[in-house]
C-alpha cells in the first residue's frame, strides 16, 4: 500500500481512464486538495435520535421501520447552523459524492480544528475500494459547550491508499455487494443485515 500525494490525487481525478478515475464532486476549491489528503465538507442532511422513543437498540431485532421510529432525518440548508449539544450524537454526511476505483482504499478522519473544539466526526474511517456515494459522518460533541456546525464547511479529511494490485475492476459490477453504496445522504444503520448476529443470538438455543 502506498499513500497518494497531491499530484497523484489530481492525476486520478482527471484520469482519462474510467476504471482508474477517482471522483470527488463537487470540489469547491482547489486548495481542498492538500499534500496527501482532501478536505471534505459537511452536507445538509442529518439523522437525529429521538431519545424519548429509544428503549434498547438490540441489533438482531432491528428492522428498517423500527430504526425510523427512533431516528429521524432533518435538513439544514447551506447558511444555516446545526447546534450539536454536549454528548449529543447525530449522523451527518459529506457534501461530496465519492467514487473510488477498485485499487484505492481511503481513510477519513475529522479535521483537528474541529477536534480541538470537542467534535468527533468519524468513528469508522475505512472507505472500501469501489465505494460510491456520500460518506456518513458519526458526529458527537465530547466537549462541554454546544458546537455550531455549518453545512458546507470543511469538516474532515480523506487520504487515499493504493493497493499493489495492478488490475482494475468495473465497480458498477460490485454495486449490489455493499449495503451503503450509492447513497446521496447519510444512511440509517443497517446493522440488522449482519447475518451472523442472528446466529450468535441463537447459538445455545
Amino acid at each position: 500500500m502506498t499513500i497518494l500525494n497531491k499530484g497523484d490525487i489530481i492525476n486520478r481525478i482527471y484520469s482519462k481512464k474510467e476504471l482508474e478515475r477517482l471522483v470527488i464532486t463537487p470540489l469547491i476549491d482547489d486548495d481542498q486538495i492538500g499534500s496527501g489528503t482532501v478536505d471534505l465538507r459537511l452536507g445538509t442532511s442529518f439523522i437525529m435520535f429521538k431519545s424519548r422513543k429509544i428503549g434498547t437498540i438490540d441489533p438482531p431485532t432491528e428492522t428498517p421501520e423500527k430504526i425510523k421510529e427512533y431516528q429521524e432525518e432533518v435538513i439544514y440548508q447551506h447558511g444555516k447552523k446545526f447546534i450539536l449539544q454536549p454528548t449529543q450524537f447525530v449522523l451527518g454526511g459529506t457534501l461530496e459524492y465519492l467514487k473510488l476505483p477498485s485499487d484505492l482504499l481511503a481513510y477519513v478522519v475529522g479535521r483537528s480544528s474541529w477536534g480541538r473544539l470537542g467534535l468527533i466526526i468519524e468513528t469508522s474511517p475505512i472507505v472500501h475500494p469501489c465505494f460510491m456515494g456520500v460518506l456518513t459522518f458519526e458526529l458527537s460533541n465530547l466537549g462541554t459547550a454546544p458546537i455550531a456546525l455549518y453545512p458546507g464547511s470543511r469538516s474532515a479529511q480523506i487520504s487515499f491508499h493504493k493497493s499493489d494490485d495492478k488490475t482494475y475492476e468495473d465497480c458498477k459490477k460490485k454495486l449490489s455487494q455493499s449495503r451503503y453504496n450509492l447513497t446521496v445522504k447519510p444512511e440509517f444503520s443497517k446493522i440488522y443485515m449482519d447475518k451472523d448476529l442472528k446466529k450468535i443470538q441463537n447459538i445455545y438455543k
Partner: protein, 452 residues
C-alpha cells in the same frame, strides 16, 4: 339569546393564534413558511381588533370575520404538513433564482398537498379580495405552490414546478394582460355559437310560455344571454391562455424535461381530451409546447437519443388530436371555438414571452448533455463538466442536469436496469437521487462562486 357568537369567534381567534405559535416553533428548511404564518397571524390579529368594535347583535359582521378565520384555519393545516425533508429544496433554489433574475417581487411558499396535483395560488391577491370588505391590506407579497406530498423528492416529475412558478412570472410581468387585446375569438364563431344558444332558449321560452311560467331575465332577453355566454367563453379562454403561457415559459426554462414530466403526469391522471374550465386539454397544451419545440430545434438536438425521440413522437401524436375530430362530446362547439382561438394566438404568446422573460443559461448544449449523461451512466451526479485534457472543470447548469436525467431514465432503460440487476424501480430511484445530489451541489457551487 342563549349563545354569544362574539364570544365564540373571540375564542376561535385565540385558538388559531395558539396553533400559529405552535407552528412557528417548528423547524422549516426555508424562510417562507414562517413568513406565511406571520401573515396569517397578522390577519388573525386584525380580526381580533375588528371583533372588539362589532356589536354583539351584528351577526352579519361576526359571520364575515368567521369566514376569514376559516381561510386562516385551512391554511394552518396545509403548513402543518411541511417538514424539512418533504420540500423539493434542490429544485426550489433554482426556481427562486429564475424569479429573482426576472425581478419578481413575490416570494413563494412551497408546500406539500394531499392531492396528486400541482397548483399555484396567489395568496396576496386572494387575501386582498377577501379582506377588502373588512378594510384589510395584505402585509406581504407571497404566492403558494403545492405539490403532491409523496412526490416531494421526485425531482424528475417535479419539473412541473417550472410551470407553477411561470404563473408567477405571467402575473408579475403582465404577459397575458398586455396582449389581451390580441386574444380575440373570431366574430363569426362567436355569433354562430351565441345564435345556437339563443335559438335553444327560444325553444325553451316557447315551451315555458305555453305552460304560463315566468322566466327570469337571463332566459328571456337575448342580449343578456349573449353577454353571459361571451363572458363565460372569455373567462375559460383566459384561464387556458394562462396555462399555455406557463407551459411555454416552463419549456423555455426546463426544455424537454418539462415536456416529459408534464406529459407523463397528465397522461397518467386524465384523458388527453378532458375538458376543464381552468385547464386546456393535454393535446392542446402539447400542441403549444411542440410549436416551441420545433422553433428551438429540439428534434435535431435529441436525434441521437432514439428511444426518447420515440417517446416524444408518441406525445406529438397526442398533440395532433382536435375537438373537431372527436365524435360525441358535450359542448363540442364551445370546445372547438376555444381550441381554434388558442391555436391562433400561440405565436403571439411565444413572442410576448420572449420579450418579457430573461432566458440566459437555459440552452441545450449537446456536449454538456453528453457529459452529464455519461456521469449518470457511471453512477456519478453530474455536478461538473470536466475537461480531462486541461485538468479543468466548470459547473453544469440545472437545465443540463435535469434534461440529461430524463434522457438517462427514458433512453438508457436497458443499460440502467441491468446495472441494478434488473431492478427497474431501483434504477429509477437512483437516477432521481443522483439528480437531487447534483442540483444541491450545483446550487452550493453557484452561491459560493457568487460570494467570491
Amino acid at each position: 339569546m342563549v349563545i354569544s357568537p362574539k364570544e365564540h369567534i373571540e375564542d376561535r381567534i385565540y385558538r388559531i393564534q395558539e396553533e400559529i405559535y405552535e407552528l412557528l416553533a417548528k423547524e422549516y428548511v426555508t424562510i417562507e413558511p414562517k413568513n406565511f404564518l406571520n401573515s396569517l397571524s397578522y390577519y388573525n390579529n386584525k380580526m381580533k381588533e375588528r371583533l372588539m368594535n362589532v356589536e354583539e347583535d351584528n351577526i352579519k359582521s361576526i359571520r364575515r370575520i368567521g369566514r376569514l378565520l376559516q381561510i386562516i384555519h385551512i391554511n394552518l393545516d396545509e403548513v402543518d404538513h411541511i417538514k424539512t425533508t418533504n420540500v423539493p429544496l434542490e429544485l426550489i433554489h433554482y426556481l427562486n433564482r429564475i424569479l429573482i433574475n426576472n425581478n419578481a417581487k413575490y416570494s413563494v411558499l412551497y408546500r406539500p398537498g394531499t392531492e396528486f396535483n400541482y397548483s399555484y395560488w396567489n395568496y396576496t391577491n386572494f387575501m386582498r379580495s377577501v379582506g377588502s370588505g373588512l378594510g384589510l391590506e395584505p402585509d406581504q407579497n407571497l404566492s403558494v405552490i403545492s405539490y403532491p406530498l409523496c412526490e416531494s423528492k421526485n425531482v424528475l416529475l417535479n419539473c412541473i414546478l417550472f410551470h407553477e412558478i411561470a404563473h408567477q412570472l405571467n402575473e408579475e410581468l403582465n404577459i397575458r394582460s398586455d396582449i389581451e387585446k390580441n386574444i380575440q375569438i373570431r366574430s363569426e364563431d362567436l355569433d354562430k355559437y351565441v345564435d345556437e344558444w339563443i335559438s335553444r332558449f327560444s325553444e325553451i321560452r316557447q315551451i315555458v310560455g305555453e305552460r304560463e311560467i315566468t322566466l327570469d331575465r337571463f332566459f328571456s332577453e337575448n342580449e343578456v344571454i349573449k353577454s353571459y355566454l361571451v363572458e363565460e367563453l372569455y373567462e375559460i379562454l383566459y384561464s387556458w391562455i394562462d396555462e399555455i403561457i406557463s407551459d411555454l415559459i416552463a419549456f423555455y426554462y426546463a426544455g424537454p424535461a418539462f415536456l416529459l414530466a408534464l406529459a407523463e403526469a397528465a397522461y397518467v391522471n386524465r384523458s388527453e381530451i378532458r375538458f376543464s374550465e381552468t385547464h386546456p386539454p393535454l393535446f392542446l397544451r402539447l400542441k403549444a409546447i411542440f410549436r416551441l419545440y420545433s422553433k428551438l430545434e429540439y428534434s435535431r438536438k435529441l436525434k441521437k437519443y432514439r428511444t426518447i425521440t420515440k417517446l416524444i413522437a408518441y406525445y406529438k401524436n397526442i398533440s395532433r388530436s382536435s375537438y373537431e375530430k372527436i365524435g360525441n362530446i358535450p359542448d363540442k362547439e364551445r370546445n372547438i371555438i376555444l381550441e381554434r382561438t388558442v391555436i391562433k394566438v400561440i405565436p403571439i404568446l411565444i413572442s410576448a414571452i420572449e420579450n418579457k422573460i430573461k432566458l440566459s443559461k437555459t440552452t441545450f448544449i449537446k456536449s454538456h448533455i453528453e457529459s452529464a449523461v455519461n456521469s449518470y451512466m457511471n453512477l456519478i451526479p453530474p455536478v461538473e463538466l470536466i475537461n480531462y485534457d486541461l485538468k479543468s472543470k466548470r459547473i453544469h447548469d440545472p437545465f443540463t442536469i435535469l434534461n440529461s436525467a430524463w434522457i438517462v431514465k427514458e433512453n438508457y432503460k436497458t443499460k440502467t436496469h441491468s446495472m441494478f440487476g434488473g431492478n427497474k424501480q431501483k434504477a429509477r430511484i437512483s437516477i432521481n437521487q443522483l439528480t437531487c445530489k447534483a442540483l444541491e451541489s450545483n446550487d452550493f457551487l453557484y452561491r459560493m462562486e457568487e460570494k467570491d
